[in-house]
């Protein structure tokens, strides 16, 4: 496996992505929120033009095919500046699912389509417990049920939907404007695009099935791993961004006649947070390498990354707000945006408890 530090190519990609994302800055998310938009379409068009939407799409389909570690690099930089976009749902999760199933992902790479993943039905991530019905009808299916927490749910042009057919869980690729489908925007704390979906007799053909009928979890597996690793990278970037903002503040803010960063109690907490971020960064780097080198055995690496990233991001934003004091509580200041996104990111695609349980189970097997 490649070393856990970035390759030269990855360093170049990171520098370019950082410059781009920092130019937009948290101001971009703030503007998106204040305008009530799902994300900045112009910014996304630029990302598409740079090949980001096709990062996991084959070159034969117009993708840049840079791989999972590269997708992590991009997500980390987006996390640092809290850039809102369909990158994770569409360019990572959907592109991986489609490609592994031998379907075209060209529309993702060229930006003509964006995807959302319609999976969660209750407040906690639990794919195996999916209840949405996919009733057979002729050569096709009729989908009935609801999805509770769908990222990019209002803006996506297409949906990956997991539903229960007679043969078992099955993954569908359907038009987001299908008849019988209603999408209600959820106003969540991170000001990004989320929706609750209701399916009332939505029709799907046999061609809409991704992978095999009854093989929905098999089809979804690689995509979930990719999404979990990449949201972890975003959370790492978010932690780094919040931490940089906080140490910057510690160096400039004065109280009681001295810079507050000179108070040893704050110094030790900052140094501890630095350590946690460094340790989490290793888990993220490892997950990217594993997905590129041996994707079907990356479960442990991915759950390790998601558990660490969720926890570290929580600590980074709690310390961030507290160390900023009163100003950190104001909407005018950016640190609160980090706290809100960290909360949603920690929950999405499995929280700390879920992934800790996965790590324990996978390690248990390994030891046996």
């Amino acid at each position: 496996m490649t070393a856990l530090i970035p390759t030269e190519d990855e360093v170049m990609l990171r520098d370019a992505a950082r410059a781009f994302c920092e130019a937009a800055g948290v101001a971009n998310l703030r503007a998106v929120r204040d305008a009530g938009k799902p994300y900045d379409a112009d910014l996304w068009a630029e990302m598409v033009a740079m090949g980001w939407a096709g990062v996991l799409v084959g070159e034969d389909e117009g993708g840049s095919d840079m791989g999972f570690a590269a997708a992590n690099v991009l997500a980390e930089e987006m996390g640092r500046s809290l850039i809102a976009s369909p990158f994770l749902s569409s360019a990572v999760i959907a592109a991986t699912a489609l490609r592994r199933a031998g379907r075209s992902a060209a529309a993702i790479a060229d930006g003509t389509a964006t995807y959302a993943l319609a999976l969660d039905e209750t407040r906690k991530f639990a794919p195996e417990a999916t209840a949405m019905e996919a009733r057979a009808l002729g050569n096709g299916f009729v989908l009935t049920g609801s999805k509770a927490f769908v990222a990019e749910g209002t803006s996506a042009s297409r949906l990956l939907v997991l539903a229960r057919a007679e043969a078992g869980l099955t993954l569908f690729d359907i038009d987001a404007e299908s008849a019988g489908l209603s999408r209600d925007r959820l106003a969540l704390v991170d000001s990004r695009d989320h929706a609750a979906l209701r399916f009332e007799g939505v029709e799907a053909t046999g061609d809409d099935v991704v992978g095999e009928v009854g093989g929905g979890l098999v089809a979804l597996g690689p995509a979930l791993r990719a999404g979990q690793a990449t949201i972890s990278a975003e959370l790492l970037g978010l932690s780094v961004g919040a931490f940089a903002m906080t140490t910057g503040y510690l160096k400039e803010r004065k109280q009681f006649g001295r810079v507050i960063g000179s108070f040893q109690a704050l110094q030790h907490r900052a140094a501890h947070l630095f350590s946690e971020i460094e340790v989490t960064a290793s888990a993220i780097a490892h997950a990217g390498r594993m997905l590129d080198a041996d994707p079907d055995n990356a479960d442990l690496a991915v759950s390790l990354a998601k558990a660490r990233a969720s926890e570290t991001a929580g600590l980074a934003v709690r310390e961030g707000v507290q160390m900023h004091g009163g100003i950190g509580m104001t909407d005018e200041y950016d640190i609160g945006f980090y706290m809100k996104r960290a909360r949603v990111g920690a929950e999405w695609l499995g929280d700390y408890g879920y992934h800790a349980g996965r790590v324990a189970a996978l390690k248990g097997q390994a030891a046996a």
Binding site: T122, L186, M339
Partner: protein
């Protein structure tokens, strides 16, 4: 009424209960109250109902909006024991309090301790009658925990000060009639020595306010700007340049109000209300919930024990522990609630109501009224007597 024994207190209880029962209108009785039911008084206050106004007026006529203040200042002259009975009977009969205000909580006690007789007779009855609503002008941008670093400056112009500067975290400044503010009146003196405690009519030309939006959404907090504001020399509490004494007195008061996170002022949802659905079984969340239950119970007992200690002669600076521990515990509680609530908890207004904004709001618990760091400094220096640098 004399400070009698158990017997006369029992008679007092009957009497006051009877009075409440005869005078409290239906609008202020017998249901769960929320924040919108609070009567704040003041020139611009919009009463929620006729009964709300009637109840305030009836109570203030009997001095019951400030039961322990002297009758000469609009109070009822109650003892502490009598006040307790009054509050107990209100709670028992499910009748809400007639008036809440910063005037009652903060300025009143400051005037009683530091004001002239003339000031007491002028300002206090306006407060008890709910005519004037006060707000507090302490914090400034850039001051933070270092409250004494007041930059708002009042230039001495003979019969008045000409004040320029800016205050922040002035709760309800946009709704208040008057403000009590710390203003630097001597730039040459040591930090704590050149501050005066001034009273200012908010309608004075040059004063403007702007509400502050928090990460949790709308808030009662404002920024308040002073632009060549003229303040007559008699609108001062205590001596010129000795305002810090007054402020310190009030800060102690405020800390006691905010402290005690597990219950009361800060409010706390029970974990069970969110965890109860039974679908959360991962050991991390369960362990956190059990620990939070344990720590909350023990903290509740600690508040009780400290009340007992206080009665016996005071707890001194150790009360900083209640502020520290209670607010940190409350933040933990809401972090856990958010985890337990999962994606249902992420909405500004969702299945669990305003849980998410409440969670965000708790982050201020350990900042306002003295940060956790300041509390730990107080404990280590004043209680543990660890040396300075």
């Amino acid at each position: 009424m004399a400070d009698g024994g158990q017997e006369s207190l029992a008679a007092f209880r009957d009497e006051i209960a009877d009075w409440i029962d005869r005078n409290a209108p239906a609008d202020v009785r017998g249901r769960d109250f929320d924040e919108s039911d609070i009567c704040w008084g003041g020139r611009n206050f919009v009463f929620k109902s006729e009964g709300q106004k009637l109840w305030m007026d009836r109570c203030s006529a009997r001095g019951l909006t400030a039961p322990r203040w002297d009758t000469a200042y609009g109070g009822a002259g109650f003892t502490r024991a009598q006040e307790k009975v009054w509050l107990e009977e209100l709670a028992r009969l499910r009748v809400k309090k007639p008036l809440e205000s910063f005037g009652l909580w903060m300025l009143g006690p400051a005037l009683l301790a530091f004001g002239t007789e003339e000031q007491k007779r002028h300002y206090l009855p306006q407060i008890t009658r709910g005519e004037i609503r006060w707000c507090q002008g302490y914090s400034e941008p850039g001051a933070g925990s270092d409250l004494a670093s007041v930059q708002t400056f009042g230039a001495d112009k003979g019969d008045h000060w000409l004040v320029n500067g800016q205050k922040i975290w002035t709760s309800y400044a946009d709704k208040a009639d008057w403000i009590f503010a710390l203003v630097r009146t001597d730039r040459e003196a040591a930090k704590h020595k050149g501050i005066s405690f001034l009273l200012v009519d908010m309608t004075t030309p040059g004063i403007s306010t702007r509400p502050i939006r928090l990460i949790s959404g709308k808030s009662p907090f404002c920024e308040t700007f002073f632009d060549d504001v003229v303040i007559p020399k008699d609108q001062i509490v205590g001596e010129v340049n000795r305002g810090w004494d007054v402020a310190k007195h009030l800060l102690t008061h405020e800390r006691e109000m905010i402290g005690g996170g597990g219950s009361g002022a800060i409010g706390a949802r029970s974990i069970g209300s969110v965890l109860a659905d039974g679908d959360i079984t991962d050991p991390h969340t369960v362990a956190r919930a059990q620990k939070l239950e344990i720590d909350s119970l023990a903290f509740g007992l600690t508040m009780e024990r400290y009340r007992d200690l206080a009665k016996q002669g005071g707890v001194g600076h150790a009360s900083a522990m209640l502020k520290y521990y209670g607010t940190e515990l409350n933040k933990d509680r809401y972090e856990l609630l958010m985890t337990a609530g999962g994606s249902d908890a992420l909405a500004w207004d969702g299945k669990y109501g305003a849980l998410a904004p409440e969670w965000l709001r708790t982050k201020a618990n350990s900042i306002e009224g003295g940060t956790s760091e300041v509390m730990l400094d107080i404990l280590s220096k004043r209680v543990l007597e660890l040396p300075g640098e």
